[in-house]
Each structure stands twice: as C-alpha cells, then as structure tokens.
C-alpha cells in the first residue's frame, strides 16, 4: 500500500509540475507561432502574478478569489502592455531586434521588481482551501489535483479557441502568412496583441497555481520557471500547442523522477540534458513540423 501511495503521489507531483510548465510553455509557443519571437519576458509575467497575489493577500488581506482573478487579469494586462510598448513598434524590424528587446524587457521587469519590492522573498499567505483530500484510501494533494484539472481545462479551452473561433482562425492565418491575412481583412496588429493577451492569461493562471504550491514571490522567480517552460516548448516542437503540453509533462516528470531517486541536485541539469538530446535527435521537437521558409 505504501508503495502504491508513493507512486501515485509522485505521478501526481509530476503532473502538477508539468501542468505549471505547460501553462507557461503555451504562451511561449503561441507567441513564437505567430511572430517567431522567443518572448524571454514571458517567465517574468509569472513573477508579476506572484507579487499581485502577495499585495492582495498579504498587504490588503482581501478574498483569495479576488486575488486570483486580479492576478490573472493583471498578468493579461501586463502581457498586452509589453506587446504594445516594446514589441508592436518593432513589427517590421529584424527578428534579432525584437529578441534583444525581449531580453531587455525581462531584465527591466526583474530589476524593476527588485527595486520596488526588494530582493528578499515575500511570503504569500496560503490560500488553498484544504491541503489534502482522501480518494479511495489515498491522501492526495488538493493543490496538485486542482493544478492538473485547471491546466487540462485551460488547454481544452485554448484548443477550441484556436481551432474553432473566428479569432483563433485569424491567429492561425496570421501565423502562416501575414500578408495574405491582411488581404482577408484581418487586423494583424490586433491579432498579435490578442495572442499576447491569451498567452499572458495562461501565465497568470500558472502564477496562481504555482504560488498556491510554493507560496512566495521573488524578483527572479520567473527566470528558471520561464527557462524550463521554454525548454518544454522546444521539446514539444515550438509553435505546437499539443507539443507544449507534452514537452512540459516530460520536463515535469523528468524532474520529479530525478528527485524521487535521490538525485534532486540534478533536477535542473536533467531538464537541459533532455533538451540537448532532443535537439540532437529531433531538432524540430516532438510535434515540430519542418517549417517551410516564410516568404
């Protein structure tokens, strides 16, 4: 029984970690899919979400539901703001300029947070209603279950949005051929901004779930999280939505497995090792298409 419980809880841990990476990786992959930009500031959106939670829960002492809603909304607004201020003026600039800007935005957010909130970790009061629930004699982490379910629901909603709605089709059209999309009457600029909004909202959901599990906020917390989600997106095949989820699960499980066998100091290294192997064996990632050059 103990063995079963251990395995179940480790699998759940893997799914939980993978889910959080998935929510962040989806934002990377969507933005890359549409404007071929590796948005290095994406991980820092999580950090912003964590500070919003800290302000509302620890400083203002408001209801956790309000805190969660405002965190997601705040992350969405930040994502849109970053696009409008930093990336939109560079729509016709070379890709490298936009990439460098993304790195600049990331540093700006991290150092800005450090300036405003200080370098030390801010503890966010616990806002999960219960810690464990009993399922068939097993005691399972409530936060982990919620994380997995919310991620699954978010992925389904996102897939529906991209595949079936008018805006989603416009996103796919823009990602394939911006000029042709313009000729269809699609406002390309707004479509790109919308993509940032969706990606950032998912990062906001990720921030809420992450802080639920690890209740603190630091200025650089988005860095490693963002990097691993980026690895997940590349593993799955950047630009692919199912790829981002599968890649994230692989990264999550790899980390949990390495920790479970007592090698937890290697948990970061194994993620990057995985990346190196995939890049050698299958450079386009698991779900990656060999993309034809855009003209």
């Amino acid at each position: 029984m103990d063995g079963v419980a251990l395995i179940v809880s480790q699998v759940l841990n893997g799914l939980q970690l993978g889910s959080i990476y998935a929510l962040v990786a989806l934002g990377y992959t969507m933005v890359y899919g549409i404007i071929l930009l590796l948005n290095f500031a994406h991980g820092d959106i999580i950090m912003a979400g964590a500070y919003i939670l800290w302000i509302i829960l620890a400083q203002l002492g408001l209801n956790p539901v309000i805190a969660m809603l405002l965190a997601v909304l705040g992350c969405t607004a930040l994502g849109v703001l970053i696009d409008k201020v930093a990336y939109a003026p560079l729509r016709n600039a070379p890709r490298l300029s936009v990439l460098i800007t993304a790195i600049g935005v990331s540093y700006f957010l991290e150092n800005g947070a450090q300036l405003v909130f200080g370098a030390d970790a801010k503890v966010v009061p616990s806002f999960a209603p219960v810690s464990n629930i009993q399922v068939g004699g097993l005691s399972l982490s409530f936060v982990a279950l919620v994380t997995v379910l919310v991620t699954a629901a978010s992925t389904i909603v996102l897939t529906f949005l991209v595949q079936k709605t008018k805006l989603g089709k416009a996103m796919r059209a823009v990602s394939e051929d911006m000029g042709a999309a313009r000729l269809m009457g699609v406002n390309v600029n707004n479509t790109i901004t919308f993509t940032f909004a969706v990606g950032s909202a998912l990062a906001g959901i990720g921030a809420v779930l992450y802080v639920m599990a690890y209740p603190q906020a630091t200025p650089t917390m988005g860095m490693m999280l963002g990097t691993k989600a980026f690895v997940a997106a590349v593993l799955g095949g950047i630009g692919s939505i199912p790829g981002a989820v599968v890649g994230a699960m692989l990264v999550g499980f790899a980390e949990v497995f390495v920790s479970a066998i007592g090698l937890s100091v290697w948990r970061d290294a194994v993620v990057f090792l995985l990346l190196i192997v995939v890049l050698i064996v299958r450079p386009t990632g698991i779900f990656g298409r060999t993309m034809s050059e855009k003209v």
Binding site: K169, A170, R172, E176, G179, A180, M184, G185, V186
Partner: protein, 236 residues
C-alpha cells in the same frame, strides 16, 4: 460616368528602385480590365499598392472618389476591393472550408453562408474538397481556392494577380472561363497577367505596362491585333 477605381500618376518605389513611374488608369463598374507586361513592368506592385499592402510615393488611388492612399490593407478590403495575390497564398495548413471562411472574415455568418453557395457554384471542385487541407490541393485547385476566398468578401472590384501562373494550358482555359463567368455575374475585375493572349481575349480594356509606365491602352480586341503588342507579348 465616374470610374469605380481611378488611379492617377502613381509612383511606387522599393528603396532606391522605382517600380512604378507615374501610371494612370480607370476601371468602370462591370468591366474586365487587364494590365499586361513583362516581368518587372510593375504590374504586381500596382495591384499591391491599390490593395494597401504598399504605400505609394505619390499619386492617387480613388474608389468612387474616396482616396485609398494610406488606408491599411485590412480596411481597403472592407471598402470593397479584394486582391487574389500572386502565387495564390492560400493558408496551406487550413482546410478548404476554413480558407473560404477567412475570405469572409469581415462578413457576417449569414452573409458567408449565402456567398459560400455562390462560390461553390462557380467552383464545384472546392465543394468536393472542402474538408481537405489546402496544402494538399493541386496548383489549379489552389488557384480556384484563392479566387473563391477573395470572392467571399463580396468585393466590388476583384483584383487577380497572375491567376494563370504555373498552370497547365487546360487549367488556364478553365480559370479564364471562370473569370468571364464571375464578370458576367456582376463582379468588376482587374486582371494582371503575363499570359497576354488569354488576358486580352477576355478583357474589355487593357493597359500595356513597360518598366513602370503605361505604353499603350485600348480594348482587348484591338490590342490583340496590334503589331507592337503582338511582337512584344504574343510571340509575333
């Protein structure tokens, strides 16, 4: 009668390269007008400028007296000008039906259902293949899809850029038959072609472009028998 589209003294440059040097032409409601000329004469540049993809250096483009200069491409479409671009540029990873849906992006679902029936009537093959991914269609089918997609916006003026490019002669015939049909059912057409023979035989009027300027103009029938045009574009 005032022209539907009127272009006056249009100049367009790509950096230091002057692609269009002061061309003027008119298109009246109900006509098929063609711009013919060799590669690099400025035909596609002219269409892309009218469609709002490129900003002209100077000159005017007016749709029924309203200027289109500086209007972004996605708004030009809403004014009633659709461009079916060179090289078709269908969305290869979307289905035929989704491509057509994108064509009707600015229209309501009810309008699109109605237009779709008309498009399928002109292009029965698209109806057969509506669930197929566009990238797997043949060149001729992709051309039909690109034309059908442009029609979905219910344009007042349909601009076709090299619809015969890369197609087998039998398909070229078929495409031009459809161009005539579309015109007969009320769509005004501006056609850009290197296949001057076909273009002149369907056009009411034609303009001959050479290195960014208009060299000659006349009815399609007249230019088809014009000595200079025959020598330069129709192989004697």
């Amino acid at each position: 009668m005032a022209a539907l589209l009127s272009v006056r003294d249009l100049h367009v440059s790509y950096g230091a390269i002057k692609a269009v040097r002061g061309i003027s032409f008119d298109i009246n409601e109900g006509e098929i007008v063609t711009l013919i000329g060799a590669n690099g004469a400025g035909k596609s540049t002219t269409l892309n400028t009218v469609a709002g993809l490129i900003k002209p250096e100077s000159g005017s483009v007016e749709l029924e007296g309203t200027s289109l200069v500086g209007v972004p491409a996605h708004k030009v479409l809403q004014r009633g000008l659709a461009l079916c671009p060179e090289g078709r540029r269908v969305f290869t990873q979307m289905t035929v039906a989704e491509n057509l849906e994108m064509g009707g992006y600015t229209r309501s679902d009810a309008e699109n259902r109605e237009t779709l029936e008309r498009v399928y009537a002109h292009f029965p093959r698209l109806k057969e293949r509506r669930g197929q991914i566009a990238g797997t269609l043949s060149g001729g089918e992709q051309q039909m899809l690109a034309m059908g997609r442009a029609l979905m916006s219910r344009p007042r003026l349909l601009m076709l850029d090299e619809p015969s490019m890369g197609l087998a002669p039998i398909l070229v015939q078929e495409i031009f038959e459809i161009v005539k049909q579309l015109n007969a059912s009320g769509t005004t057409i501006l056609l850009v072609e290197q296949n001057a023979n076909m273009a002149l035989s369907v056009a009411d009027r034609a303009y001959v472009l050479e290195i960014g300027t208009i060299k000659k103009t006349g009815t399609g029938a007249d230019l088809l028998v014009d000595d200079d045009v025959r020598k330069a574009y129709l192989g004697g």
